[in-house]
């Protein structure tokens, strides 16, 4: 059985890498495996500065994911 797909929001300069602001990727068990999956699909992410946010909180360490998780990729902020 393959993993269900989940949407990932992509912001700022990372959209230059992904070509879209909303990715559909197979759900992974945790944020570390999700990062690995994304880097396999978009090798340029390895060199990009970004953080992952899960449920609108920046991920520090590794957190587990579910189909209800809200996931986003955030490059350095540049508001103001």
């Amino acid at each position: 059985m393959s993993n269900p797909e989940i949407s990932i929001m992509v912001f700022g300069q990372l959209t230059d890498i992904t070509g879209t602001s909303s990715l559909q990727v197979p759900l992974q068990a945790d944020s570390d495996s999700m990062k690995a999956e994304l880097q396999k699909r978009y090798p340029a992410l390895v060199y990009a500065r970004y953080i992952m946010a899960v449920d609108r909180k920046p991920v520090t360490g590794n957190v587990s994911l579910s189909g209800q998780s809200t996931i986003a990729l955030l490059p350095p902020f540049s508001g103001g």
Partner: protein, 147 residues
Amino acid sequence: MEKRKPRNIFVHGAISTSFIAENIERHHSRHEIGGHSIFLGQVRADQVEGKTVSAIEYTAYEEMALEKMQAIRDDIFGKYELTCAHIYHSLGKVEAGGICLFVFTSSAHRKPAIEACSELVERIKAELPVWGKELFEDASYQWKENK
């Protein structure tokens, strides 16, 4: 902590001087206020390798930005004796010379308003998930970086 709907800070396009004036005007009835501090961010027509920035296009992760802004407000109100604080940030395109950020604090005596305004500006730039795309006159672009 109780879950509140965070207040909106985003406005579409440039922030107009009439919007700023109305906001100030609304405080004339607040007779306990002695000082207001205001910061306005304005889009600069920077030169980059012979090209000129003509506008900045702002995008944000709005839900996360509003939650974060509410947390920053709570911190600031805990730290400074303010009567009120108002924050507005542009989304979408703001031409060079336009206002993209409006931070407005008030207090009975001047110091809390001045210090809180300055701290809010720093935290907004560092902590809100907002991105600026600097558009050049020839339709090329680069992503803004905050220092």
